[in-house]
Symmetry: C2
Amino acid sequence: MEKALQNTIALLSRTPAVLNALLRDLPDEWTHRNEGENTFSPFDAVGHLIHGERTDWMPRAKIVLQHGESVAFEPFDRWGHLEECQSKSLPELLDEFAQLRAENLSELRGLGLRREDLARCGRHPALGAVTLSELLATWAAHDLDHLHQISRTMAHQYREAVGPWSVYLGVLQCQAHGA
Amino acid sequence: MEKALQNTIALLSRTPAVLNALLRDLPDEWTHRNEGENTFSPFDAVGHLIHGERTDWMPRAKIVLQHGESVAFEPFDRWGHLEECQSKSLPELLDEFAQLRAENLSELRGLGLRREDLARCGRHPALGAVTLSELLATWAAHDLDHLHQISRTMAHQYREAVGPWSVYLGVLQCQAHGA
């Protein structure tokens, strides 16, 4: 397998265990608070990752392989997870994410992608031509984006509690909110 | 125990397992690259967390309890981990961090801190008067600061690989580098 794809899969395969170690049975003050209106709590972020497993990454990869640029991806709904999450607990979401991710990675490995497959182009509804390689790299970077967001959102809950130390904590100065 | 202290300990007790799930046996392209000169790789961040366990958090907590504001904390050396880390592997550092953190939390719980203890003041060499409560909250927020940094540093390695998707990834826009 291409080295870059191996690195991508190495990261993708770890994220469910990372979120499990961080969030399972953690008090709600950490997991269910956000950074203000229209921002994600850690609970929301896990729901959003689940929605991506169902509707974004592997479905798009298959569109690239089957249709190339002739069929644009469906737009992804950033808040598409809300209804699905309402009746679930965080442990349930963590379990669901782990299961979906494992299934998707099994399917990805099964595709036996070669260098020329990774170079194939699909069509993003807003960004235009994108390669399969870029899609898969973005899947991994998107995990990191939400780990970054979750750690920032949790730190936000302690912005007063740390007192004068706030000036030393870069995480409290991060302006990537809502991204 | 005070609710806020329970929440702090809940977070602090999880960080070693989070870093273990994320970093152990991950390819060096993720773990040993940084964001440029004078920035931490994930490997450096774990070493830095170890250095904090040894020289920062609990030693300072004990200074507050024993001396109040009469004895200022030793300044913390942000690069104090470098020499210690040079000969070690990342799995060794992860094990060491987990052990030191468990020992420190055991000692913290053993102190049986009451509300009036948490309100006691110590003296930071640069920030001046700080409470024990603020010190302990900062210990937890500092974990999140480095989880935030590690996820950003890892995402940085994929800034080219994601192609046009970079505009959607807040983690690639974060300006908290080096903090």
